[in-house]
């Protein structure tokens, strides 16, 4: 399952440093004339993390916690407000469009919705061929062969090249999306909830495919999901996000065996267990996450936290290493450690 302690910073393929991304809400005409300031949604707030070579990093959190936004910043679909994203030591946020376009070959993305992520008018073969021809990664006379090879790599028949996306099921479409991402032979694969739109039986197939491909092609991968079981199965290391900030980060075994942050604890308690005797005594989380427009002061989890104290309302906890390879942003967890 997990095990590999890939935590040395030296071989980091990707390093995200203090990335913040906000969105301004559109103003109505009257407030705009009155020069009111638009309301700001802070989707990702000062997030730092790294991914080592050959590692699968899982990012979990409720919807709206900024995990997809963070991923889109790394893919540079969004430009963050501040921070650095170092890919192989180079800051991709400083790259100009020409340089960025060639660098994009090495960072590819798998999308959440297999129905909208494939152009409905492109036959599968043309879709894959376009990738190869735009970047000239393959001589024209070998492209057909390469397309067939890509399709077989994701477990599909080469005949699929002649069909339209509408002729495939969700799972098959997601395989096509994976083939398209792999056509560029990327170093880093960003998976944005790639199985949450699929049936459970198909989810397992796609996840196993991703894990096989990851080890075959020695890919580095960031896997975003709200489903703890999926993330536990696939990830070497896990990042737990809440309202745009990292709450806890550590290897999969540490997070699941010894969760330190109250938010992680309630998340784990909320996940369904196959064995009813394994039910934990931690109460399920109450209410919805607060609006990311009005983030609570102090620790942003304190209004819903079962073990919040007075100081949690004032003081923003910093992500600190509580044991080797295990980081927690909670002042209570630190206190209970006794240091």
């Amino acid at each position: 399952m997990s095990g590999k302690a890939l935590d040395s910073y030296g071989d980091a393929v990707l390093r995200v440093q203090s990335v913040t991304k906000t969105f301004e809400l559109p103003l109505g005409l009257v407030p705009a004339i009155l020069r009111r300031k638009p309301e700001v949604v802070t989707a990702v707030d000062d997030v730092s993390l790294h991914v080592s070579k050959g590692e699968i990093l899982g990012i979990v959190g409720e919807s709206g916690c900024g995990k997809t936004t963070l991923l889109r910043c790394i893919a540079r679909l969004y430009d963050p407000d501040s921070g650095q994203i170092l890919f192989d030591g180079k800051d991709i946020l400083k790259m100009r469009s020409g340089e960025m376009r060639s660098e994009r070959r090495r960072i590819q993305m798998i999308f959440q919705d297999p129905y909208s992520s494939l152009n409905p008018r492109f036959r599968v073969g043309r879709m894959l061929d376009e990738v190869l021809s735009v970047h000239n990664v393959c001589p024209p006379n070998q492209r057909g062969e390469r397309v067939a090879q890509l399709l077989e790599m994701v477990g599909m028949h080469a005949d699929a090249a002649h069909r339209l996306p509408s002729q495939f099921s969700g799972g098959q479409r997601q395989r096509i999306g994976i083939a398209r991402a792999l056509a560029m032979e990327p170093t880093l694969l960003l998976a944005d909830e790639p199985v949450s739109a699929l049936d459970v039986s198909v989810q397992a197939q796609v996840i196993n495919l991703l894990m096989d491909l990851q080890s075959q092609l020695s890919l580095t991968m960031i896997f975003v999901s709200h489903d703890l079981r999926v993330v536990r199965h696939i990830s070497h290391r896990i990042v737990v996000m809440y309202l745009g900030k990292i709450m806890e980060m550590g290897t999969t075994s540490l997070i699941f065996s010894n969760p330190r942050h109250p938010y992680t604890k309630v998340l784990l308690a909320a996940a369904p267990q196959a064995d009813p005797t394994l039910r934990t005594e931690v109460a399920a989380i109450q209410g919805d996450p607060p609006s990311p427009i009005h983030i609570p002061p102090g620790c942003r989890f304190h209004p819903r936290c079962p073990s919040a104290s007075q100081s949690c309302q004032a003081e923003i906890p910093i992500l600190k290493e509580v044991e080797s390879g295990h980081f927690v942003a909670c002042s209570m967890a630190e206190a209970s450690m006794g240091n």
């Binding site: 679909l77 060639s102 993305m109 992520s117 376009e130 970047h135 069909r163 339209l164 398209r180 560029m184």
Partner: protein, 296 residues
């Protein structure tokens, strides 16, 4: 694995053409396209061969046969100068179709390019273009056209220019709205992460998926523009006499509605047929252009 519901042979334009040999099945599956297409095609042929088809000289006056009701010699009767109404309607066809089609083609092309840039880039580009659109919208459509023709002088060419100036905004707004939705779809994001250029994304990935409403509107717009040209002809700002034009023909018969109803009625019916033809064509195209072909 599941079997596909639709086979590749029956999808898209190519599949449509391939099954064209079995014409009956198309007629059943997309009757609007067939009927509309035939009507427009017949009008096109009439327009091309108008000189050969017209039984009489459309501008020759015959003072012995004025205001004849429809009869064996003059199938649709004669007007107050003894000119054959059928011949005049036929000789007006190329002109009206030209105005209708050209005054759709230019706004269509301009509107699509401008709307695409506006929707795709957003921000300042979008703001500038949309304020320009607001300026054009601020004028009533017909008043703006009449004002432009008043400056430039009457005639076919100026009518097309005036209609273009007044109606490109509609296409720009249609396309902009569609692109605002489409540019956030995941296949567009996928195209960006694959490192495709903006032009490729706009023209090859987005545009074919959003152009259908504009094409459908264009087919309807042909009819509207024929009506505009007819209105201009009616007002004396369009084609000048003695050249025949459907609107002008209706106008010329309005003094004889009680004694010679056929002078105004038959050009009116010609406009209706053109309208129905293009409207059905629009409807059929909407079906045909959906991804994955038309309804089976």
């Amino acid at each position: 694995m599941s079997t596909p519901l639709v086979t590749a042979e029956h999808t898209g334009l190519r599949g449509m053409l391939r099954s064209a040999s079995g014409g009956r099945s198309i007629l059943r599956r997309n009757p609007a396209l067939v009927v509309g297409g035939v009507l427009v095609l017949v009008m096109g042929l009439v327009a091309v061969f108008s000189n050969q088809i017209a039984p009489y000289d459309p501008i020759a006056q015959d003072w012995n046969n004025i205001l004849q009701a429809p009869n064996a010699q003059h199938l649709l009767g004669t007007d107050n100068f003894g000119r054959d109404v059928l011949s005049r309607i036929i000789s007006a066809t190329p002109l009206d179709l030209q105005v209708g089609v050209l005054s759709v083609l230019f706004p269509f092309l301009i509107g699509i390019v401008v709307g695409m840039l506006s929707g795709y880039y957003g921000g300042i580009v979008d703001n500038v273009i949309m304020r320009l659109v607001d300026v054009v919208i601020a004028f009533p459509f017909m008043v703006l056209i009449i004002a432009i023709i008043a400056v430039m002088g009457p005639g076919l060419q100026n009518a097309v220019i005036a209609i273009t100036v007044a109606s490109w905004i509609i296409y720009a707004r249609i396309i902009r709205g569609e692109i605002l939705v489409a540019k956030n779809l995941e296949y567009v994001m996928a195209a960006k992460t694959l490192g495709y250029g903006n032009l490729r994304i706009m023209a090859i990935h987005i545009l074919p998926n959003v152009i259908t409403p504009a094409i459908v509107f264009a087919a309807v717009d042909v009819v509207l523009n024929i009506l505009v040209a007819s209105s201009l002809g009616f007002l004396g700002l369009g084609v000048q006499p003695p050249q025949a034009e459907w609107g002008a023909l209706i106008s010329s018969g309005r003094g004889f509605m009680t004694t010679g109803w056929w002078i105004s009625t038959f050009p009116g019916i010609a406009i209706v047929i053109a309208g129905v033809g293009f409207a059905l064509l629009a409807d059929g195209l909407a079906d045909l252009l959906r991804p994955g072909g038309f309804k089976s």
